[in-house]
């Protein structure tokens, strides 16, 4: 079983990429579980025909953990992709990081973490140990950074490299960086910049995904691109990504950049 996690700056397109990746993997014949690890709970929406499924944390809050069953939290979406949303507190109260940990413990107890591949769709950045949970022992072992060529999203990706490097130093940890996905803003020389960034942090660009109107149209239709327009070029990009993720065995410990180096790198591609 492969366990992968997608991390990256908020709004960079992790959920869109995750959902399309899961859909493509499923169509390729794999058993897929996608877990949205964000209180916003919008990770699996396009796989569920626009439906916001009940979250693990909401059910735990309403009934208590002992009254929640796997059937309550695992929903079957497009082409059999199993979908889970961790959920969390209202913004501004409590601890969403602890919510992620609690969710994982419950899913593990249920024996839910099965399949050919688990896709962990994690929120914007690794702000505390709770949000690093998918990277921890036994969970996601392959981390994909989703970034564009914009400096702010490279900052976030670089920060996540720091988290992976730190966690990889633990004796039992199998957490590694598996690649960089360029979810492009269609800036000039963007693919080159992200590929160079990937190389500099001791990884590789695994897929370039251009900005495409089809994504917006599919979302308005509450579908993944794979489902909405399977013949489109964009759908093919996601299928390519799915194939490369399944084949990918290049797992490394990242070498994050200093901020000055990151900025001078970005400057070279302006």
């Amino acid at each position: 079983m492969k366990q992968i996690a997608l991390y990256g700056k908020g709004g960079i397109g992790k959920s869109t990429t995750s959902a399309n990746l899961s859909a493509a993997l499923s169509l390729a014949g794999h058993s897929v579980l996608q877990i949205g690890c964000d209180p916003k709970r919008d990770s699996t929406r396009m796989l569920m025909a626009g439906r916001l499924i009940p979250t693990v944390m909401d059910l735990v809050r309403e009934r208590g953990a002992s009254a929640v069953t796997p059937q309550d939290v695992v929903f079957t979406g497009f082409h059999g992709v199993r979908c889970v949303e961790a959920g969390g507190p209202e913004p501004g109260v409590g601890c969403a990081g602890r919510g992620i940990i609690a969710t994982f413990q419950l899913l593990e107890k249920f024996g839910t973490l099965t399949g050919d591949i688990i896709v962990y769709d994690v929120l914007g950045d690794v702000v505390c140990g709770g949000f690093a949970m998918p990277m921890r022992e036994g969970y996601a072992q392959e981390v994909y950074l989703v970034t564009s060529g914009e400096l702010m999203s490279l900052y976030a990706a670089n920060n996540i490299c720091k988290a992976i490097q730190r966690l990889a130093a633990r004796p039992k940890s199998r957490c590694r960086i598996a690649g960089v996905i360029c979810n492009a803003k269609n800036m000039p020389r963007e693919e080159e910049l992200v590929a160079e960034f990937a190389r500099r942090v001791n990884s590789h660009l695994i897929q370039y995904i251009p900005r495409d109107r089809t994504v917006q149209l599919a979302e308005l239709d509450r579908k993944t691109v794979i489902e909405y327009d399977p013949a489109s070029e964009q759908a093919q990009r996601y299928r390519d990504l799915a194939a490369r993720v399944m084949e990918n065995s290049r797992l490394t410990i990242p070498t994050p950049l200093e901020i000055d180096d990151l900025e001078s790198l970005a400057r070279q591609y302006v």
């Binding site: 944390m57 809050r61 953990a65 109260v93 409590g94 601890c95 969403a96 602890r98 609690a102």
Partner: protein, 346 residues
């Protein structure tokens, strides 16, 4: 950060911030304390406080209630649990409710002030006690004393003396109180308020009436300063420690209060001499301290005492105990000398 794990470094008054504050607020007998956090934070303190009360011959269950936070409260915020608990406690019509925060609720950012302000019925007083923010047992004591002092209004001076911050968790708290009361009486002074030991919320009103505050030890200086700024009350920084502590205590109190204490000091010096005479049989015996107390003040007082009774320091001598908290006054010194005598001639 404290990093000395030796048993010699441990005592009842070196727990977490919460324990320090609880050792104060639970002494206000007509109140209830709500500990906002997981049940365990309350449980182990409850055990300690009830065991201490039993040891001191006054068995009593401390009026403690936990908001008993569980994982869901941590994830979604514990404010509802606090609100619910306060409402329940309020139904018992306590004189006041103290709300003590724990490390976890400060981590998740519960708005404790908002919840407490919304409660009607009796004063609800917040005492910050999240130890991970850098607090220690002593910080808990000081925070609790200052929070309680905020309940007092200015009142007409009555010429008496407050005792501030007695160590409610020590075995000898009543004996020490008796010794200090005796010394004050030699100067014609009496105790106005034991702040805080076995009092009610009404009694706190006379906190500002005293002419002098006697702090239990110098760690309470921030409390002394606070009371000085609130009520203009001068303070002295500690109970009498060691052999010559009584006479110097008397001299300091007399000076601060503008009293002629010459006779009292002379008489107390004579008592110091009499005490040494009672233990003249110890002279020449070899001893070493075991364990060595971590508190420098305690070490100095013990060394001075040993020299004054003529004990010799020797690795081959008898191990004699030294309390973590230095003995108070001649009564405490005499207790210690009895222990040493037992250890030497056992």
């Amino acid at each position: 950060m404290t990093s000395n794990p030796l048993p010699a470094s441990t005592c009842r008054t070196a727990g977490c911030t919460l324990t320090g504050a609880l050792s104060v607020v639970t002494q206000v007998t007509d109140t209830v304390t709500v500990v906002h956090g997981p049940g365990g934070c309350t449980h182990h303190n409850f055990s300690l406080l009830s065991a201490t009360a039993l040891d001191n011959g006054r068995p009593a269950l401390p009026p403690l209630v936990s908001t008993d936070l569980r994982e869901t409260d941590i994830v979604f915020g514990g404010e509802e649990a606090l609100d619910r608990t306060l409402t329940r406690v309020m139904n018992g019509n306590p004189g006041a409710i103290f709300v003590l925060s724990t490390c976890i609720v400060e981590t998740i950012g519960d708005d404790i002030e908002k919840i407490c302000q919304a409660q009607q019925g009796c004063p609800v007083i917040i005492v910050p006690t999240a130890g991970f923010l850098g607090g220690s047992f002593q910080a808990g004591v000081n925070n609790a004393l200052i929070a309680l002092a905020a309940m007092a209004e200015s009142s007409a001076p009555n010429g008496r003396v407050n005792l501030i911050g007695e160590k409610n968790l020590e075995y000898e708290v009543e004996e020490n109180y008796a010794e200090v009361s005796r010394l004050l009486s030699l100067l014609g002074l009496s105790v106005n308020l034991r702040f805080v030991r076995n009092i009610t919320t009404d009694e706190i009103a006379r906190l500002g009436a005293a002419r002098l505050n006697v702090l239990r030890d110098p760690a309470l200086i921030p409390v002394g300063e606070y009371l000085n700024s609130r009520f203009g009350t001068p303070y002295i920084t500690g109970f009498p420690i060691g052999l010559s502590g009584n006479s110097s205590f008397l001299a300091e109190v007399a000076k601060t209060c503008g009293i002629n204490g010459t006779d009292a000091v002379t008489r107390e010096r004579a008592r110091e001499g009499e005490l040494l005479e009672k233990f003249h049989d110890l002279a020449g015996e070899g001893v070493f301290f075991s364990p060595l107390p971590p508190d420098p003040e305690g070490r100095i007082a013990a060394r001075d005492l040993a020299r004054n009774v003529g004990l010799r320091f020797s690795d081959q001598g008898n191990p004699v105990p030294v309390p973590v908290i230095p003995p108070v006054g001649l009564a405490g010194t005499e207790r210690l000398l009895h222990r040493w005598r037992r250890a030497i001639f056992a």
